[in-house]
């Protein structure tokens, strides 16, 4: 069996690229190049390594970044959706609602009046991306 560690290093670089460029359209060929893999092999091995597809990883990263902007800035919901890379407000709102359990506006109304929790931002980046156990995703319409 080939050494899996170099493969993980390449896959992680692709994941880091998503974390950096989450506001850009997802470019699977570019990610596959970063991972030194063919497109099909990249998609399969990414999911095996990280437990979710690159699309789903990106979607949840965008929602996590949106949560931060909704908590810490005065941007409108529309501005937030554009800032994290959504092309339409509708797809942003439905994804947010599905992953967070409430609408972006309701989330902002929760958090904006209170001081943000005293948790370092590097840890909210790493630990508050929505995942299966934070909120049970409704329905089966997620293509991720």
């Amino acid at each position: 069996m080939p050494d899996p560690i170099p493969v993980y290093v390449h896959l992680r670089r692709a994941k880091d690229l998503i974390d950096r460029d989450y506001a850009e359209p997802l470019d699977v060929p570019a990610l596959a190049r970063e991972a030194h893999a063919s497109r099909a092999h990249f998609l399969r091995s990414f999911k095996r390594a990280f437990g979710e597809t690159p699309h789903r990883y990106l979607l949840r990263r965008r929602i996590e970044r949106a949560k931060e902007l909704l908590r810490n800035t005065r941007l409108s919901v529309t501005e937030v959706s554009v800032a994290v890379g959504f092309r339409s407000l509708g797809s942003f709102s439905s994804a947010f609602r599905r992953l967070v359990g409430e609408s972006p506006l309701a989330y902002a109304r929760h958090w904006r009046p209170v001081a943000p929790p005293r948790i370092p931002a590097c840890f909210t980046l790493m630990y508050t991306r929505p995942h299966e156990s934070t909120f049970r995703e409704a329905g089966t319409g997620d293509p991720g």
């Binding site: 993980y8 992680r12 880091d16 950096r20 590097c122």
Partner: protein, 140 residues
């Protein structure tokens, strides 16, 4: 009483490559580089801060069985581990300097309630915060 933390283990995939990264890219200094049998004790510190040593260690036997070592290496390579936070006197300038040397940043310098912070990875995959602390409020 305990007065501080002096050594932190950083699991790396290759000691030579880690040493190159920590000294050439981050600008750290070697504290100790000593080999006995096939065990290499390799520690580095930020310049003039030898009071806290980072131990650059490759997971492996006899400390860990081969299977456990492979698991830890996989976690490091996948980017799952974050050993801690570095301090800097100027986050933006250091970000520019380290980026130019090829350090992979995950986030750019950003104002936070505790200072200006950026995050980066070492060449093995460990993630770190790099923070320029804000003036701490005076507590009663």
């Amino acid at each position: 009483m305990i007065t501080g933390l002096s050594h932190t283990t950083i699991w790396v995939l290759d000691q030579d490559e880690a040493l190159e990264f920590y000294t050439r890219k981050l600008g750290f200094e070697i504290n100790t580089d000593a080999t006995m049998d096939d065990f290499r004790w390799l520690t580095v510190s930020p310049p003039d801060r030898s009071d806290h040593e980072l131990i650059l260690l490759v997971p492996g036997p006899p400390m860990m069985d081969e299977e456990s070592a492979e698991q830890v290496k996989a976690l490091v390579a996948k980017g799952a581990l974050g050993p801690g936070a570095f301090e800097t006197d100027d986050c933006r300038a250091t970000y520019a300097e380290l980026s130019a040397r090829g350090v992979d940043f995950l986030s750019e310098p950003t104002e936070r309630f505790y200072g200006v912070e950026a995050t980066f990875r070492d060449n093995s995959g460990n993630w770190f915060s790099m923070t320029e602390r804000a003036e701490l409020p005076v507590h009663q």
